[in-house]
């Protein structure tokens, strides 16, 4: 790749990641000057344009209060959760606190209980014992999107928005805005049955964030997304965090932890 092509791609990648025009222009000129001075290969010096743009975007992003920490407001508190399915113990005395302005990544082996914990926190599954306290609205994106194959994304947005007490117009606008953050025009799509796995996943995320909940639970949201969409989703998650929300992301990909303020591990329990 020539330096010129690399710089062009960098400019594009920075725009895609919502880096302001001024910052993007400065970053490109600075990289150009560096390459001219060092006579180096851009891929060796900076890595791929997408990767470098993501790192720069992360560094440039304003770190808005409130940040996670002991001072930040507690949004959800789960205390001493126990859950078994038959003889299989999934959660044993598991406690977690989700605070405002933070991203947590939930890690654990497949089958360790990440999805079970998510469903309990979303209020869709009762623990065998223990309590979940939530003084806020919660949005939930399940691992397997529960979409109706015969409805379009726009119809889903209206349906979910209405259920959350929004007018259809407000819901449609909010849905279109969120979809745009993921580089997607949802109005163009036909029924969900014809969508790819990645696009269904995007709709799933849009529906979770539609009613601007304070806590957003995303179960394996990057599944099926291509590299660029995945980077855009991390940007959206960071933006939600900066708005003071708590975003809990379940992931079996360990690299996800670089985006986390807190890492929560669900230990795999043996059968008894």
């Amino acid at each position: 790749m020539t330096p010129e092509t690399w710089l062009d791609e960098l400019a594009h990648e920075l725009t895609v990641r919502h880096v302001g025009a001024d910052d993007a222009m400065q970053a490109v000129v600075e990289a150009q000057a560096f390459l001219a001075d060092s006579d180096g290969d851009p891929l060796v010096e900076f890595g791929s344009p997408g990767d470098y743009a993501l790192r720069l975007a992360t560094s440039l992003r304003p770190s808005a209060p409130p940040r996670s920490g002991r001072g930040a407001k507690t949004l959800v508190m789960a205390d001493s959760l126990w859950k078994s399915f038959g003889k299989h113990h999934v959660l044993r005395d598991f406690s977690v606190v989700l605070r405002a302005g933070s991203v947590s990544v939930l890690i654990g082996a497949n089958g360790a209980g990440k999805s079970t914990l998510m469903r309990i926190l979303a209020g869709l599954l009762a623990p065998d014992s223990g309590t979940v306290w939530a003084e806020c609205s919660v949005g939930y994106s399940p691992q397997a999107p529960s979409l109706n194959d015969y409805l379009t994304p726009v119809e889903h947005v209206r349906l979910f928005g209405t259920a959350a007490g929004m007018s259809q117009e407000v819901a449609s606008r909010a849905g279109a805005r969120l979809a745009e953050c993921l580089g997607w025009d949802l109005a163009k799509e036909s029924v969900c049955g014809s969508l790819s796995g990645g696009t269904r996943q995007k709709l799933n995320v849009v529906l979770a964030g539609l009613h601007t909940p304070e806590v957003i639970l995303l179960d394996e949201p990057h599944q099926g997304l291509d590299y660029e969409s995945s980077a855009m989703l991390w940007d959206l998650i960071a933006a939600w965090r900066d708005q003071g929300k708590h975003v809990l992301v379940a992931s079996h990909i360990r690299e996800a932890i670089v985006h986390a303020d807190t890492v929560i591990e669900v230990p795999r329990l043996s059968k008894e």
Partner: protein, 117 residues
């Protein structure tokens, strides 16, 4: 882990402190900083690590920058330390001295490395 990998992870952990220390000596642009770090034996810092680190320092208002037109070719962004950056550097230096002394003590106290393992 290769020894070069270890050195790379040390540089990664101390890059921002090193940049503050270099800028305390005077303003400089990105490529100059990498040259200086290489000459001092600290390591070859790729541009891909350098500029995000400078962006973080600037966002934290520890450094500030100014564009100057290039004589030939692209313009350059010169970075300089702020008052806040000077204070941060003093704090970093102090905690680095303590940390390095502790590591040094640990390394010299358990000096005999067994080959049995």
């Amino acid at each position: 882990m290769q020894s070069t990998d270890i050195a790379t992870s040390w540089v990664r952990g101390t890059l921002e402190t090193c940049l503050l220390a270099l800028l305390a000596r005077g303003e400089a642009y990105g490529y100059q900083l990498t040259q200086e770090l290489a000459q001092r034996g600290i390591g070859q810092i790729p541009g891909g690590s350098l500029y995000p680190a400078l962006a973080r320092l600037e966002k934290a208002e520890l450094i500030t920058s100014q564009w100057r037109p290039g004589v030939s070719g692209p313009g350059r962004k010169y970075y300089r330390l702020t008052g806040q950056g000077r204070q941060a550097l003093a704090a970093h230096s102090q905690s680095w001295r303590e940390f390095a002394a502790n590591v040094q003590e640990l390394l010299s106290s358990g000096a005999e490395v067994s080959d049995d393992a």
